[in-house]
Every structure is written in C-alpha cells, then in structure tokens.
C-alpha cells in the first residue's frame, strides 16, 4: 500500500493512487520486477506533490486544474488500430527511416516500419527492449528524469506502458531519423497515456530522433498525454531531436524532456507545438561535460483558446559550454503562449556562453504571451544574455512587400512564415526541415486571423 500524505490535494490524487494499486496487482503488466521501485517511488512522489497550481512559481501562467478535474483513465490496451493509410495523413509520414507507431501509447507492430539497422544500432519499442536489452535499460531508465519538482514526470514513472527506445553504440551512426509516432484515438474523456522514451547515444555516435504526437480526427475529446523522454548523450556524440506536438484541440499534453549531456556533445532539440488545448514541455538539460554545444529551439503556433507552454532549465555544470535557446510564438485568437527559461551556471562552469531568446507575434488583440527568463549565475567569467519580445507584424515590412505588388494577405503570411522560419531553419536534417516548414505553412494557411489580422 502506498501512503497518502495529508496534503490539500489528497482527495484529488486518491484516484491515481487507487489506480496504481490496481495496476500493481495486475503485475504492472508483466514488466520486470526491478521496475517496481521506480513506479512506486513515482506514485509516492506524485501523491506528495499533487497537481501544481497557479501558486507554484513554475506554473504561474499555466493552469492545469482542467487536467486534475478529468477522470483518470490510464490506457493499458489500444482502443482500435487505425488503418495504415490513415497514418499517411499525419505530418512527417513520408519521411524515410524506421518508424515506430504507438496507438494510445501501446506499440502497434503492424503499423510500424522497422528496416534493418546497422550493427551497434538498436531501435524498437521500450516494451520489446525490456525483454531484449533489460540490463542496458536497467542501467539508464529513470536515471535522468527529475521528479522532485515534477509531479507529471513522477506520474509517468508510475504508469508508463511503452514508448520508443534507441541505442547507438560508440562511434556508430543512425543513417535516417528514427521516428516515434504516438497516435491518440481520443477514445474517451480522461483517457490517459504515458509515453516513455529512452534514447542512449554512446560516445562519438550520431543520431536523429523524432517524436510526434498526433490525434485521429479532430474530435476534441479531453484526453491526457503525459510523456517523458530521457536522453543520455555520451561524450562527443552528435544528436538532433525533434518533438512535434499536433494533438487534437481537446487534448491536454504534458511532456518532460530530460537529458544528461557529456563532454563535447553537439545536441540540438527542436520543439514544434501546434496542437492540443493545453500543452507544456518541461525541458531540463544538464550540461555535464566541457565543450558542449546545445541548441534548444522551438516554435509554437496557437489559435482559439489554446495554450502552449515551454518551460526549460539549462544546467551548466561544467566549463566551456554553449547553450542557445530560441523560441518563437505565433499567437492568434484568444490563445496564450508561455515561455519560462532558466539558465543555471554553477561555480565550475566558467566560460559559459548562454543565450536565450523568446519572440512572440500576436495576431489578435486577445492573444497573450508570458515570458519569464531567469538567469542564476554562480561563475564569474561567463557570457549570458536573454531577451523577450512581444509584438505585431512590422507595418513597414508589409508596406514594402505591398509596394512590389504582393497583396496584403500574402504579405502578412510571408512575414509570419518568416518568423516561424527563423526556428525551422535551425533544423539540420533536410527532409525533416522541409516537412516541418510545409506543416507550419499549412497551419498558418488555416489560421483565419493570419488573413484578417483579427481573432478567430
């Protein structure tokens, strides 16, 4: 039995604790026994923390009460398996490379394509890896994710079912991006999936990994996706990561991306958030070796009453590292963009070069942007900058384009596209960049307020 501490949220967390007891009795779905302590610690931590409220400094701008109010219905089996053709409608569907598909969080082998990979490279579902790579997983899983202030990651630890697994042994490289596609069927209100991804890249290895989260149809059922991705990046590895969040407008989406980065690693992580009613990415990157170059890069595009939140902590633990964060928000309707970036420079992290930029483009009078940059510096020889802007399209630029014969609407679209393009252009993989560019362009075309400049 897991004790429920007496906190004001006790009632609220009770259904989760009860659900965990049932899950535990069901043998936590036949997973190895060494996982139980992680899961039990997860539910205990969740019960202790409860859902964050607006009173929590890190959640000031994002109200997750609607998630807390949902009935908790963790999904252990997929509702229905969509046809293969249905998958073709989703973004990035035509990209080459292995693709592992999860329906309501559960691996769907029949929808996945799993070409032979070079020696020393493994990619599969986490469940499968738990049988074939148990020792490796035991060594890494849960070692990087921080739950002491993250109730959602703790909840994922308790309930996760499946997700993507990538292992690249020292000096090897994955020729094509490995893609994990999570399809939410919107099966019922409160249906909750806990995707769990584990990426291990050994020293000198190279990989490109894509996570995408999509919904079947746009039914708008209030479902909850609560993902955790852990990255372990060995010395001198080169890794590009992209997370696309394109869930239905009823969905709630919380994701935690925690990485431990070794010496002289080149790591870029891109976030494209265009879907969901409420989404939040908790990104925590620990730069645990010298000479790292890390780029955190993202664009969010919202309309209606959507909210997209990026919260990140970059922890400079060692000297001579560069971390650059670039996040652009394009906000229409009554939607809201939130950016919270904390840069922590520890005493040993001399010669740190940390930069943080958040730019927001408001396409309607009712859209809002909240930005909270935070620098916490304990070393004395560092270069740290941050900046946040909120504004409308530049009238002079619009006039210039019009004076060359380009219509008002096209001019507006060009400038908005350019604003998103600043972010998309940082994606190094050509095919991925082109797909993302097309996706953002397509979504901008659908935004009515792009054309008229007023809220939808």
């Amino acid at each position: 039995m897991t004790a429920i501490p007496s906190n004001p949220d006790a009632k609220r967390v009770e259904p989760y604790v009860k659900a965990f007891e049932r899950f535990e009795q069901a043998g936590a779905r036949q997973q190895p026994p060494w996982l139980f302590p992680l899961r039990k610690a997860g539910i205990a931590r969740f019960a202790e923390l409860g859902f964050p409220t607006l009173k929590h400094e890190d959640w000031r701008f994002t109200n997750v009460a609607p998630i807390a109010k949902l009935p908790f219905r963790p999904v252990y089996d997929p509702a229905r398996i969509p046809n293969r053709e249905v998958l073709d409608q989703f973004p990035l569907a035509t990209m080459a490379g292995p693709r592992f598909v999860f329906v309501d969080g559960i691996y769907a082998a029949e929808l996945s394509s799993n070409p032979a990979l070079p020696d020393g490279v493994k990619a599969c579902s986490l469940t499968q890896a738990l049988t074939t790579e148990a020792a490796l997983i035991e060594k890494y899983l849960g070692r990087c994710v921080r739950t002491e202030d993250n109730a959602f990651a703790a909840l994922n630890n308790a309930f996760f079912q499946d997700g993507g697994f990538v292992y690249v042994s020292a000096g090897r490289s994955v020729p094509e991006p490995v893609q994990f596609l999570f399809v939410n069927t919107g099966r019922e209100v409160g249906a909750t999936i806990h995707p769990r991804n584990l990426i291990i890249v050994e020293p000198g290895a190279k990989a490109t990994v894509i996570e995408s989260y999509v919904s079947l149809g746009n039914a708008g059922t209030a479902t909850f996706t609560n993902a955790v991705t852990e990255f372990f990046l060995g010395d001198q590895s080169t890794v590009e990561h992209c997370k696309l969040q394109d869930e239905s407008l009823g969905a709630f989406h919380i994701a935690s991306l925690h990485s431990r980065v070794g010496r002289a690693v080149n790591f870029s992580s891109h976030s494209v958030a265009v879907g969901a009613k409420l989404s939040r990415n908790n990104i925590r990157t620990t730069l645990d070796g010298e000479g790292i170059e890390a780029i955190l890069n993202g664009v969010y595009l919202t309309g209606g009453d959507q909210l997209a939140d990026h919260y990140m902590v970059v922890d400079h633990a060692k000297a001579n590292c560069a971390s650059h964060e670039y996040f652009n928000g394009i906000l229409a309707g009554r939607s809201k963009g939130v950016f919270h970036g904390r840069i922590l420079v520890r005493p040993d992290a001399q010669k740190t070069d940390a930069k943080q930029t958040n730019k927001n483009l408001l396409l309607s009078d009712d859209a809002t942007a909240d930005a909270k940059p935070q620098l916490e510096i304990y070393a004395d020889d560092v270069k740290c900058t941050h900046g946040a802007t909120v504004g409308q399209l530049n009238e002079e630029s619009i006039y210039y384009l019009r004076s060359r014969g380009i219509g008002l609407e096209t001019a507006r679209r060009m400038l908005i596209h350019a604003f998103a393009g600043e972010i998309i252009d940082r994606v190094k993989h050509d095919g991925l960049r082109e797909e993302l560019d097309a996706l953002v362009w397509d979504r901008l075309e659908q935004q009515e307020s792009v054309a008229v400049g007023k809220g939808t």
Partner: protein
C-alpha cells in the same frame, strides 16, 4: 501616346493638422524623365510616398491620374501591378523572407494581373541572372533574406534591380542617390538609363544635382514648401547647383 502616364492636379496632402503638399501640379508623359529637387522638408518624400500608396498621409484636395485611372483609389499592391514602382529612400530589411521567393512572388502577381502565365523557379532564375549583372550585385544576393545584411549601397542597387525585374511604367526614385559613393551612383544610373523606354517614365526625387550628371532629365522641377515653384529643362539643375535654392525662394516670395 500623348496621354500622360501621370497627371497630378492641385494635390494637397499632409499628416493630421500639418499641411505638407500645398497644390502640386505635374504631368509626366511617356518617354520622359522628370527630376524633382528641393531642400529638406519641402515635401519631396511625401510626394513619393503618396504616389506609392503609404497610408500615413491624408490627401485633402486634388487628384492623381495614372494612365487614365484614379491612382489614389488603388491599394499599394494594385498600383505596383499597374506599373508604379517606388525605389525607397530607406529600403527595409525583412529577415526570413528570401529575396528570390519575394521577388518571384511579386513578379508573378504582376504577370497574373496582366493575364500572363506565372514563371516557375527555373524560368525566374534565368530572367534575373542578367539583371543581377546589370546592377553589379553579389551572386548570392538572391539567396539572402530581403535587404538583410546589405550595405547601404547594396540596398539602393537592390531597389533598382527589383525595378529591372518588374519593369514599371512609372518609376519613382526617392533619393536613390543619397548615401551612394560615386561608383555605386554610376551603377544605379546605368541601370536606370538601360531601363528607359519610349513607353515608360521616371520621376527622380533628389536633393543634389550630382545624380543628374548621370541620368539626364527632360524636366527639372523645384519643390519648395509643398509647391513646385519653378520648372525648366536640365539646365535648371545646374543653375540650382550654382545659386542654391535661396535664389528661387526669394524669387517666389517676391512674386507671391
């Protein structure tokens, strides 16, 4: 051929409560190059902006007829598609908008407007290659975002390059010579001269005579305090160079 390309009649305009143009009259016919000169604050750039369609100004009186149509009724993009081109005094930088993409979109709007087929990327590149050479612009210009990272001179040359691609019927050059060194000035002038045809016209707005050494105008007008106080041939520009504007202003005051 005798219909003017541009006919400005009694044009009064300003911002809020400030009158800037106080009754401009000007007719420009096909094949002609006109120069408007005048001291700072005389209304030169206001006139250019009103012709291009910047909505910061209120026209309170008068009319502007372009090829028989009411120019002031048209949106800026309509004016451009009908063949009006303004070379900006201060071209804006537009990060993220690729020059090729921008200019091809503009040209295709013009072509659509004329009922001509749009050009694809290859056709467009073939077309612009020679124009890039004409203006001595760097080869990678078309790969860069519009005006971003260009020097002052490159921005001005880029304006004339765009003009060469869009082939306007009426080109208005707003102080294109300012900030140019003599070599850049020569290149710009060569560009403008090459583009001159019997069926188009150019309106040069300038503070200095030196541009007119390279582009020879058919008519020179002096703008002072929102009105054209004197018009003449190209020799008027030289007279101004000699005597300055004071001579004319005194003349005007004496007359008035």
């Amino acid at each position: 051929m005798n219909q003017p390309i541009l006919a400005i009649q009694n044009l009064h305009a300003g911002v809020e409560n400030k009158k800037i143009l106080k009754g401009i009259n000007l007719a420009i016919r096909p094949g002609e190059i006109h120069a408007i000169m005048g001291p700072n604050g005389s209304g030169k750039s206001t006139l250019a902006s009103i012709l291009a369609g910047r909505d910061a100004y209120d026209v309170t009186e008068g009319e502007v007829i372009y090829c028989g149509k009411d120019l002031l009724e048209m949106d800026p993009e309509e004016r451009a598609r009908e063949g009006v081109f303004l070379a900006f005094q201060y071209p804006v930088e537009i990060p993220g908008v690729n020059s090729t993409y921008f200019l091809r979109a503009a040209l295709n709007e013009h072509r659509k407007h004329r009922g001509e087929p749009e050009l694809d990327a290859m056709e467009f590149l073939t077309l612009v290659k020679e124009k890039v050479k004409l203006l001595h612009l760097p080869d990678d210009l078309l790969k860069r975002p519009v005006n971003v990272g260009f020097s002052g001179g490159e921005k001005k040359r880029n304006e004339i390059f765009q003009m060469a691609v869009l082939q306007p019927k009426l080109a208005v050059l707003d102080e294109t010579d300012s900030g140019l060194d003599i070599d850049a000035l020569r290149i710009v002038a060569e560009g403008v001269n090459t583009l001159k045809r019997p069926d188009n016209a150019t309106l040069l707005i300038t503070h200095y005579q030196r541009l007119l050494d390279h582009i020879v105008p058919d008519f020179v007008h002096v703008l002072w305090d929102g009105r054209i106080v004197k018009s003449g041939g190209k020799e008027l520009a030289l007279e101004l160079e000699d005597k300055g504007y004071d001579w004319l202003i005194k003349h005007d005051v004496a007359r008035g």
